[in-house]
């Protein structure tokens, strides 16, 4: 009897996934844990592994199609199951394949068949328990008719209530993008939601899928890949929901440059990796976050959740996409530890080996726009975080010090903040703290 393989739930609030590529053909023999397909969801690209050994008998969902979690995607005739050696219960039970690259956290295997009394769906437990929202009938009706996830809607009514007008505005704007953002706000105890990429420079305005823009002769039409779609949706959502404010300071990092030049050779030799400037910036940010925990928070409609953990998201670009893996517990790491984490995440991003866990739980984002020569950027907040900081190129500039002109290594730090959560004053103080820490770097700075 053929085992049913279902679309797994790749992330706690994910409701659907796209088969971006089948890695098996009908007739192929697969072993348990062999990859079956590449699946793209709002949160992650993942290889879905087989849960059984056997032969692929039928592929149900074609490539490119998006189906709901729990949908049957293919059949595998189990090897050794012939003659009915498998119990009927096992054979009948649809098996939901866990994501290949996924740790045990989020995607609890969720069976569609009632016969399988597995663990309760993680999403239900995580998503609804903390939700104290009360919705008016109109809001519920409209959201259902238009497929709007109310947990992602920012209310403008009394006490942050979502009003009918709030929902109507989303509908009028072409509907809600399918990005998922719910978990952190609603269930602080659950694994933080993974985040997609923040913009690095100019905001990428993504038109709604339905917008009809004429294509002129000679224009090249580039299909929107799932990851591009996710990025686009996330950008729009962040810009739509979080009122962005922006500020910038300049920091004299001459001492940092000198110090790094002094130690980098020995560091490379000893640790086997290049010491870049980024870990120093991250370290300064983390230390400042400890002083101003409100920056390390998230907007949750009727409340603001100040996060205990300090997990720094870093933007890592590939040729065609952008990922934001997370340095967990960055406040417990030395500059070396941060450097190693950055190096590891960057390498695995480029190799396409990021796990769900790698992408979840960020509380603040540092974006190294200087790596491609930018001196000024207005980053889009990596929602639902409250702020993002971009580190621009370090450039030598004439600077007036004590009424004398000196050549100094200067860097601009640009910060976008969710003005619902943060105001200019606290961000100014936070940036001053970052600046003070960076400018104090010198021979006494500890790398380990």
């Amino acid at each position: 009897m053929a085992t049913k393989v279902l679309m797994p739930q790749l992330g706690e609030s994910v409701t659907e996934g796209t088969i971006s590529k089948w890695l098996v053909n009908v007739g192929d023999t697969v072993k348990k844990y062999d990859p079956l397909a590449e699946v793209t969801t709002d949160k992650v690209n993942a290889e879905v592994p087989s849960t059984v050994s056997g032969r692929v008998t039928e592929i149900v969902v074609p490539e490119g199609e998006t189906v709901a979690v729990g949908t049957l995607i293919l059949y595998i005739e189990e090897s050794g199951a012939a003659g009915g050696s498998a119990s009927p219960a096992q054979a009948d039970a649809p098996v939901s394949a866990p994501a290949a690259t996924q740790a045990s956290t989020a995607a609890t295997a969720q069976a569609a068949a009632p016969a399988v009394q597995s663990a309760p769906p993680a999403r239900q437990a995580a998503g609804n328990d903390g939700a104290k929202q009360r919705y008016s009938p109109a809001v519920v009706m409209l959201s259902q008719q238009h497929g709007i996830d109310l947990s992602r809607v920012v209310g403008t009514g009394a006490g942050g209530r979502i009003t009918r007008k709030d929902v109507q505005a989303i509908i009028d704007a072409g509907g809600q993008k399918p990005a998922e953002q719910v978990a952190e706000a609603q269930a602080p105890a659950a694994a933080p939601a993974p985040t997609a990429a923040p913009a690095q420079t100019a905001p990428a305005a993504t038109p709604a899928p339905s917008v009809d823009i004429p294509v002129a002769t000679g224009d090249q039409v580039v299909p929107v890949t799932p990851i591009r779609r996710t990025i686009a949706n996330r950008m729009v959502q962040s810009k739509h929901e979080a009122p962005h404010a922006w500020t910038m300071i300049e920091v004299d990092v001459t001492n940092l440059v000198n110090f790094r030049n002094q130690v980098k050779a020995e560091f490379a030799k000893k640790e086997g990796l290049n010491l870049t400037f980024l870990p120093f910036f991250i370290k300064a940010v983390v230390e400042a976050l400890k002083e101003y925990p409100m920056i390390n928070s998230t907007w949750a409609n009727d409340k603001i959740i100040v996060k205990k953990e300090i997990n720094i998201s870093i933007a890592v670009a590939t040729d065609d996409a952008l990922f934001v893996p997370v340095i967990k517990d960055a406040d417990q790491k030395s500059i070396l530890g941060i450097a190693k984490a950055v190096d590891d995440l960057a390498a695995r991003t480029r190799a396409g080996k990021l796990t769900m866990d790698d992408m979840t739980g960020g509380t603040f984002t540092v974006n190294n726009t200087g790596s491609f020569g930018s001196v000024l950027s207005q980053p889009i907040i990596n929602s639902p975080q409250a702020a993002i900081l971009s580190v621009e190129s370090i450039v030598k500039r004439p600077v007036v010090i004590n009424d004398m002109i000196a050549v100094r290594s200067m860097v601009n730090l640009c910060m976008s903040l969710d003005h619902r959560v943060l105001d200019g004053l606290i961000c100014g103080r936070f940036l001053q703290s970052v600046k003070q820490k960076l400018e104090s770097i010198g021979p006494d700075t500890k790398l380990y």
Binding site: S136, P137, A138, T163
Partner: protein
Amino acid sequence: MAVISFIDAITMAMREEMRRDPNVFVLGEDVGVRGGVFRATNGLIEEFGEARVIDTPLAESAIVGVGIGAAAYGMRPIAEIQFADFIMPAVNQIVSEAAKMRYRSNNDWNCPITIRAPFGGGVHGALYHSQSVEAMFTNVPGLKVVAPSTPYDAKGLLKAAIRDDDPVLFFEHKRCYRLIKGEVPEHDYVLPIGKADVKREGTDITVISYGLTLHFCLQAAEKLAQEGISAHVLDLRTLYPLDKEAIIEAASKTGKVLIVHEDNKEGGVGGEVAAIIAEHCLFDLDAPIKRLCGPDVPAMPYSPPMEKFFMLNPEKVLEAMRELANF
């Protein structure tokens, strides 16, 4: 088009209908030589004579009951009850007789009487010259209850009431009589009984009212517009049978509904309006249906601070509207 007062529109309607149809006549206390205590029938006796502008004995049940008999025979009586507060002796005639004649006779008889009654307070009229009694009659099938708020509506609806083949109770807010002025065509026109009227288009909240308080709502809406709050204002105009379609449409438009009337809240017209909305608009509702009404006390006291406390005003209405908008 002339700008005239609410009461002049009432007089104009009666005069035009009396000229148009010899079966139309007026009866009531002081309606003749005095021209009515509010002067609503001013000039009618001079033009039409005392046979058609009848000063009756001081007996409300007879004013209505005699009117009913004449109406059944084929006349078009306009019976004036001097103050709505004094309609009580005539309630049996209105409710048991006028309202039921057609039904109980299986469509053999009908009763085309119009009963006019000034209602409402804010005129230092105390308990018995200030009441809003409409809710007593908005549960009586067979009867139509009209309460216009503007001179234009007053003329068009009163003429419609006089021509209606069924009994119409026509409530005129006495504070509107000289306070509210508006453009009224001098030509003949009627407005449909049973149809509410959108007095202001808006998108944030829906306010439903009638009579004097309708004007408070419009004034408040004007002020709120400056705060960026857009109010949709529906004038019920007919209180029974209610224009359910218009109520549903107006309520659905914004999903936030405030019902305003001077009559006390419990058992008032607003409760029925709210029930219609609750029955039909659940999935359009974005806030609890709110009512702003007179307090549930027997009637409006005489002492000025007490009267002021009882009465609604544009500020009270504005506050309620703003609160709902912010919900």
